[in-house]
Every structure is written in C-alpha cells, then in structure tokens.
C-alpha cells in the first residue's frame, strides 16, 4: 500500500473533528476530553487526524511540497492511533494508515529529520534503534542463567527490545520477566547481545524499506530456532511482531504474546501464583501499541464497489481498536493480593498517550514531556498511588516527566509488581 491507495479513505473525511476528542459517548467533562496530543498542544487543524487527511490529499494532488513545515507537522505526532479510534466510532475509513503513509512518502522523497537519520544510521549498522548503553560491558541478563535461542532448543523466545536493553534503569523489568518464566518452568531463550530491533519504530518513522529488511532478518532467526512462541514486554515490539510482521507476511505461525498476556495465561494455568500482598492503589495506563494499535491485522484485498455507498468486494472490516490487549493486564493486576485498581477517565481504546511514540521523544522531547505530564495529572486525579504500565517506552516517558515535579505517584511496569508478589 502507498499513500495513493488511501486517497478514497482520506477523501471520506467529512471534517467533523471527532478525531480530536475521545469517543464522544465517553466524554465526562471538559477535563480529559481530548484524545490527540498533537492538536491539543499545537492547536492548528493540521495537527489533528482530520487535518492530516487534508494534508495527505494535498500532497497527492501536488498542491504541497515536502517542505520543512510539512516535516514539522508530520513528526509532531506520537502515532498513537487515538484519532483513528474516535473517527471509526462513526466512519468507515482509515486514518492512522494514511498518516503513516505520509511519513513513508516523506522518507521516499528524501525529506527526513536529521535526528532520525542518525538513529537509522545506527539501526542499519547495529540492528538497533537505541544505541546500547555504555560499552556493553554490562547487560540486563548478566549473572542470570539464560539460553541462547539461536544455539539451544527453546519453546519460548523472550525478546526484550532495544529500548529496554539500552537503559539500565529498565533492566529490572526483563530480569523479573525472565525470573517469572523460569519459575514457571518455561523453556525460554534470548538472543542476548545479539538481539536486534523489531524494526517497528523504523516503520512508523517512515523507513519502511529498512523495516522490511529487519523483519526478514529477525524472522529468519526466529524460524530457525524452532520456537513457537515469542514473548516481549515492549508494546512497540509486540505491535511490530504481532501486527506489522503479520501484515507484511513475515509472521507465519509464530505466536506473539505480550508479557501481560503470557503471565496472565501462566496464572490461569496455575504455573505461577501471586501470593505476597501488595498494598497499593494503582491505575493502569494502556500503552497505545499494546491497546488500540495492538489489535490483530485484518488481511483484506479487494476493491470498492462502484455506487453511492462505500462498500467493498469482498466486505472490508476496519480495525477500530476494539480488539487490542486490554483485559490481560487488568486480569494480572486483579490477581495481585492487596492491590486495588482504579481506572483513569481515559482508558483502553481511548487512553491518552504517554507522549513517547512516533519519534516525538527523540525529535521533540518537550512535547513528549508535555503529553506525559497530562497523563500523570490524570493518574494523580484518579487517587492512585502508582501508575502502572506495560511498556518501557511509557515507563521511561512517565519517569522522565516526573523529574522536577512535585508528585508522590510511583511508576511501575506491571511485571515488577507481579514479580514482587510471586517470586
């Protein structure tokens, strides 16, 4: 697919502005009624889902050039998919996909941001988007008994993700995950220092060709291992393996699970049992790439039937964010003795983004922090003592935003709490 393939979708935009707000049925007041950080921060219509449709059409109609301003608008978007959900409450049209295609078109037309070019240089060289911490004298798995899935037979591949591997402050999460898997008797393997990026972020930055190359490389490793299941604790990696790899025909029969899904399953099967009390009132933040964008890809090939209504042959089902991973993390939290879960006003498919996605953390850290700060306020208003999430990107974004802010709220990855109660 290319931007031109989404022209009809974009032209179905009626300019209603529903993309700016959470699904209207859920609006509970003036506070927390927005879904799109970009329009909320920058205000001009062009920063909204609808405005981005207009820009996409103008590009196709050659009314606009690939200018610096275009890049500024295009990349001040977390690619969180909130606009897509709000639009598709009422409409049958793609929003997120053409927004993504505009980025791809920018890259294909040689118009890129230097910050991403630098990242991509490292990606092409090392297979990682986030440079490894220090000299790699230390790694998250040091001192732990691990298997290398490329050398040894395993049932489950545990993919940590480059963001987590590179940031020692996040290492407690994969360490906890590994310990939990081992306690459950799972035959799990990792790639250790040889683990490469999933490529998902490269795709959503617009570097599609690089993503495809990376996906091919990774799948070769996974297939050769013979493992049937891949587990990751990173929402971006999950979305890449579960959705993008499937979309582009790489995934095959590989079962892709997020740690929240995997551990919820292990609890149901009685393989691990949280038993220690955690007296904490928490709220849960749905990572965009695990929630609304984590819903499976729907393969469809066909054409629009001529006529005065948008119908397709064969019938086309739209991804509306309804089938993302929402229940397993909540199931996990509810299984922890003593813990109370209080929902924020914006949850599940209409959750506000953490601010880190779409390259914003790298290209415009102030905007990322501004977005995270809004979510932190929402979490505080819920009365929770801790904000729990299930993605290193979100955790990192919230932790950064918390610095220099008077707040007693604690930030956790869900696996940390599970490990504390179980191990």
């Amino acid at each position: 697919m290319a931007l031109a393939d989404y022209q009809q979708d974009m032209e179905t935009c009626c300019r209603c502005s529903a993309c700016k707000f959470i699904t209207l049925e859920n609006v509970k007041g003036v506070e927390n009624s927005y879904i799109c950080p970009s329009i909320a921060r920058y205000n001009f219509h062009g920063y909204s889902g609808g405005g981005r449709m207009g820009i996409g059409i103008a590009l196709l109609e050659k009314e606009l050039d690939y200018s610096d301003k275009l890049l500024e608008v295009v990349y001040n978007c977390q690619m969180c998919g909130g606009c897509d959900v709000s639009c598709k409450y009422a409409m049958d049209m793609e929003v997120f996909e053409p927004i993504s295609e505009v980025r791809i078109a920018c890259v294909e037309n040689g118009k890129t941001l230097p910050v991403f070019d630098n990242m991509m240089e490292g990606f092409r060289r090392d297979g990682r988007l986030v440079p490894a911490a220090g000299t790699r004298s230390k790694n998250w798995f040091d001192g732990r008994k691990t298997k290398d899935f490329r050398q040894q037979k395993v049932d489950v591949i545990f993919h940590v993700g480059c963001r987590t591997s590179a940031d020692p402050s996040l290492w407690k999460v994969p360490q906890s995950s590994l310990a939990l898997m081992q306690k459950a008797g799972i035959n799990v393997g990792i790639a250790g220092v040889e683990e490469q990026c999933c490529g998902g972020r490269a795709y959503y930055l617009g570097y599609k060709a690089d993503f495809l190359k990376q996906a091919e490389y990774n799948m070769k490793q996974f297939t050769q291992s013979g493992a049937r299941t891949l587990v990751t604790g990173c929402a971006e990696c999950y979305q890449a393996f579960r959705v993008l790899y499937d979309r582009f025909g790489f995934k095959g029969n590989l079962e892709v699970l997020h740690t929240t899904e995997f551990f919820a399953r292990l609890i149901r099967e009685g393989k691990i049992t949280p038993s220690k009390k955690i007296n904490l009132n928490v709220t849960y933040h749905d990572p965009c790439y695990l929630g609304r964008l984590g819903e499976p890809w729907i393969h469809w090939k066909g054409k629009q039937i001529p006529g005065q209504i948008r119908l397709f042959d064969p019938p086309r089902e739209f991804r509306r964010g309804s089938y993302g991973v929402y229940a397993p993390p909540r199931e996990l939290l509810k299984s922890l003795p003593g813990l109370t879960l209080t929902e924020m006003e914006r949850t599940r498919e209409y959750a506000w983004c953490c601010g880190a996605g779409g390259g914003v953390k790298e290209s415009n850290p102030d905007f990322a922090a501004w977005t995270a700060d809004i979510r932190l306020k929402e979490a505080e208003a819920s009365g929770a003592e801790a904000l729990v999430t299930a993605c290193p990107g979100c955790e990192n974004s919230f932790t950064s935003a918390l610095k220099g802010r008077k707040s007693s709220i604690q930030i956790y990855d869900i696996v940390e709490l599970l490990a504390r109660s179980t191990l």
């Binding site: 049925e25 609006v27 007041g29 001009f44 606009l64 275009l70 598709k88 409409m91 006529g307 119908l311």
Partner: protein
Amino acid sequence: MTLNKSQYAAFEDIVGQENISSDPVILYSYAWRSGLLAGATKFTPRFEAIILPASTGEVQAIVRLCNKFKLQFKASSTGWGSYSDVSGPGVVRIDLRRMNKIIEINEKNMYAVVQPYVIGAQLQAELMKRGLNCNMCGAGSNCSALPIAAHQGIGHMSQSASYGERNLLAVEWVTPEGEIVRLGSLGSSSEWFCGDGPGPSLRGIIRGNVVPLGGLGVFTAAAAKIYHWPGPASLPLDGMSPRYSPAYYPENFYIGFYSFSSMDALDEAQRLVGESEIAFQLMGFNAAMAASNIATSNEEDVKMFQEFSKYVKGPSFMISLAGNSDRDFDYKMKILAQIIEKTGGQLIPHILDDPKVASGCLWRYIRSTGSIREVFRVSGCFGGEVGQTDVFRLMADYISVSGKNKVDLINRGLAYNDGFSPFTQSFEHGHYGHGELLIRYMPNPATFRTLTQEFIKQANETAIRDHFGVPGHVFGDTSHDLYGPHVSNYHIWLRRIKKAFDPNGVSEASHYITGKE
C-alpha cells in the same frame, strides 16, 4: 493577495508566533472541503492566514487590524460545515479553538456561559453532574455548544430543550468594526439574566434566519439556556468502540420507535405528544436513519436498512421519555400508550427489543453521537434539503413535496437509495417543527452540479410557489435575493443590517449576505 510582512507581524504581535500561520501546509489542512454539500472542488479557495486568538480582546484586536488593513476575516469554532469556508483570497481566518472555556454554569438561574470551542459533549457532561442538561446540536456533540455557532442548532432534544436561536440568552459579540457588545447576562454584574437586555434587543437582528454563519463579526461567548435533567450524573458504558451501550438502562427512561399509517396520523400523534408535554426527545426518524444510527459499519447498515424497511411502514418517529419520579414516568408511559392507540401507531418490532440496543440508542440520542454515522458514513458526504423552522406540518409537507425529486437522483444513480421518507421533528412540545431530506452521495463535481442546479433549484421553486417559507439552506447573496422579494423584501433589511454593522465589508459574508446591492 498575500499578507505582507508588516501585516503578518502585526497579527503575530496579538497572538504570538505560535498562533498564526500562513504556511501552505497549515492552510491546506483547513482548506479540505467539508462533507456537507461536497463535490465542487476538493479544496476551498485560498485564504491569507489562520489565526488562533485566546481571548475576546485578541479577537477584537484582530478585527480592528483587518479594518485597518482592509482585509476580510471569518471566524469559526469547530469548523465542520462549509459555512466556515471562505469564498476567495484576501481573507484571514480566525480559528476560535483556543477559546474553549466554560465560563460559568449558573444552576440557580439555569444558564451556562460558554466560549465557542466548548463542544456539546463537554458542556452536557458538566451539566449532567449538576442535574442539568442542554440542547445539543443535532449534527453532533462534536459541535460547538455556543447556541449561535451552529446553524439553527436544532437537535434531538429540541422537543424539551428547544433549539439554538431560542436558547441564546446572551451573547458577547465583537462587531465587524471591532467593538465588543455584551447582551443579556454577560452584560450584567448580577446574576440576573435576560436575553433582551440591558438596552435594546439585538439578538434577533444579529441572528437573522439561520445565524450569520460567520458573516457579521465574531461571537466570542454566549449564555445558553439549560434544562432540568432527571437522569444520572454520568452513565457508565459497557463495550468497546464502536459498540458502546450503557451498563444499565437508566431508571425512568424509555425509548420507542413507532410508525404511522399516514402523515396525518403522525402529525396528530406529534401534536398530542406535544400537547401533553410528555416527551424528552422526539425525532421523525425513518428506517434508513435508524439503521445508520445502530449499525457500526456500512456493511451492517445495508443489512439493517433492508431488515428495518420490512417493519417500518409509513412515516415514523423515535420518542424518548424521561420521568422525574416513578409516578411521573408511569403517567408519561400511559399517556404515550393512549396517544399511540388513538392515532393507530405501531411499535416497530424487533429494532429495539434488545435492551442493550435500546439503551445504546437512548444514550446516542442524548449525547447526540449517532449523527456522523447517519449522514456521513455512507460516503463522507451529504447534501439535500434543509427545511426551516415553522409549523410542523407545513415543514413536513414541504419536505414531502420537494423530496419527490430525490427519486430522480436515485434513478439516475446519483444518490444512495435509502428511501424517500422525510425526516421531521416538532419542537418545544408545540406545533413548531422542522423537516429535512437526507441525500447521501459520493462527492464529485457532476453530482454536486445536479444537486445544486437541479434539485435545490426545484426545492426553491417549490418553496416559493407553494408558500412554504424560507428554507434553512438559504444563505448567501444569490439565495437571499431569490427569496427576499417573495418574503416582505427581507433581503433589503438584512443587507441594511449588514451594512450598518459592517460598513467596510470586512466580515466575510459569503454564507450570510454582503452589502453589495
């Protein structure tokens, strides 16, 4: 024409660098055409810049600069309708997005003062926490809650909560010359409110037939009348988008869908419902609109429309009741049953049998979230015939007569075949009402030409010939000049109003009336 550097800098001094742009990327995002009556061109004509003021003072300063520079300006709030667009270059657009505060909710005197970018959903949600509610623009709760922003402001609750122009208790208005005029409660330091004071009433003058649609200065705040709400402070929802339904059916609420053997029977039923003041909402839905409201995709919509068409025989309405107590609710239900029996109405079977579907429908009605599905999902575009507010039966008849021409559009393959039933409703428990004919079509220039040059032309001829009054789709010089001579030469007076308040012609009036004779 483009803004020169010093002009741009002068505007920038008012709103700051971040809040003005003349970059094509930003302008094209605004220039993508509305889905309302779409098809002539993909983009609306170019304009000079977009400016985002944050206060009435900033709006005033922008307007004064426009007068000084001899530039036109046009303001919009949520900017959905094509009325927000400009007709050509030389215009600065004012996006009121940053003016998004609820200034006051006065529970005792039952009014809310809002800025233009407060949307209906936000105001309603805040009001419901206080046991209050507001009329919601029928186009949807994504529209501005400012009662003078959105055309006539007719909505699903207009039966019990009136409509925009009547709910406008007070207004803060930056005139085309840059004067700030405050009418009603906004002009008083006490809690007293009155739409007509202090001083002479300007409400009717500035409002006109269908509000000035951006052509007579900028409305920067307004007080809207608000109403009693007997329901819960909030309604928790089950399910995921797009399939939400309330977790429970709210106590003492009812929604029913009835059809009648003839327009006479429906007219009588609507009159009796109004006379007894039992209805919370009353909308003359037809099978097509009910299907679009409930369905969550076009595929489902087509199936449901076929199914519903089997049950819906003749003109129909969807009614909701809201009881203030068990006894009040019982009373209203009994009265409804008597009216239905007397008028030979039939409860349309199956459609609302499932309580989840019924409560979902009820909530979509109250929150007004189904409209985008009803009019835009099919193709992203709709046009058609927008009747005026007048005696309900007159409006219903007008739509029935002019709507016959829809058959021709369908036969020529230019419009979606969703039947011919007019969509009608009465207001304020009274005889007043409104009618519309929905025409959904794939946008393209040929269809647009046929719709405007043939269908609407015929609708205009019908309205004039058969004395149906001035329809709601009448705006702009050509239309007013067509209708005016048949209706007390109102166009002359409207033009005089325009010229009196806007002697320099700076308030872009392509959807209102210009000062040009």
